[in-house]
Subunit: 168 residues, 2 copies
Amino acid sequence: MNFLDVILSRRSIRKYKKDKIPETHIKSILEAAMNAPSRKNERPWHFVIINNRKILDKIPLFHLNSRMLYEAPMAILVAGDLTVTRDIFIAIDCSASTENILLAAHSLGLGACWLGIYPDEDRMKGIKELLNLPESVLPISLISIGYPDEGKPQINRFEQNRIHYNGW
Amino acid sequence: MNFLDVILSRRSIRKYKKDKIPETHIKSILEAAMNAPSRKNERPWHFVIINNRKILDKIPLFHLNSRMLYEAPMAILVAGDLTVTRDIFIAIDCSASTENILLAAHSLGLGACWLGIYPDEDRMKGIKELLNLPESVLPISLISIGYPDEGKPQINRFEQNRIHYNGW
């Protein structure tokens, strides 16, 4: 599959097999995450690997859209350090990093789904307490990851009417 | 080059040859941009292709970090529709889309650089006036694109100390 086909065939995958993710794949995914661009190359990001079943099962209690975590073998929290930069730049940089995680997972044959945390107060509070995050760490997104147990066809969401030339 | 190598070898490229970008490449880049994930699949994004020399040359007047645009054959503005969702979700979705643009450009042998617009008031005002954006359209990022006229070595920004397991 060429590079652009990986981008075009990525879909949100919410059903997973029970198989664990090999450590080498996790390392590759985190390499992709940390090689995203960031403002002034500040790289404010941190990553929490969550693969403890008891912890995963507590997340849907405060994040109602995250029920796929009951089946997912792991998730990655992307968070940012407020001592490095302010909230909006953390959100932007961590979103580019999150996209790299999704793409890297898909390229390795894994399925993943982006679960928003920031700026939802309940989700931020829930994840901060559950993972014991320092006050200066801002949780941005959570990505569930596993071997896919559903197939989804490729959809091309290209729309000509979203394109403008040299002005509106 | 395999998929992960494309992610790992992407660098910010700020020097460009004068060659124009083929239309087929621009289409591929925009396909990648529009196939990014977005919150609730809302896809709030719009894209303004800027390849008019007079317009490109006006951007560094209000965006001091954008002087590479004097040489770049084109740039793409990524903006979001405030009638679809609010500013922070536009910033997050457009950042994932911007990362796809950077990766797609690199995979096609092009060089690109992410220039932040949101939330800088001067840059937002400047770009809105220059491109005649409607009041409801929020400019997020600008990407300069061209055939690279500089080579940059691959740097692996992986750092083990950014990784945490099941808590902080």
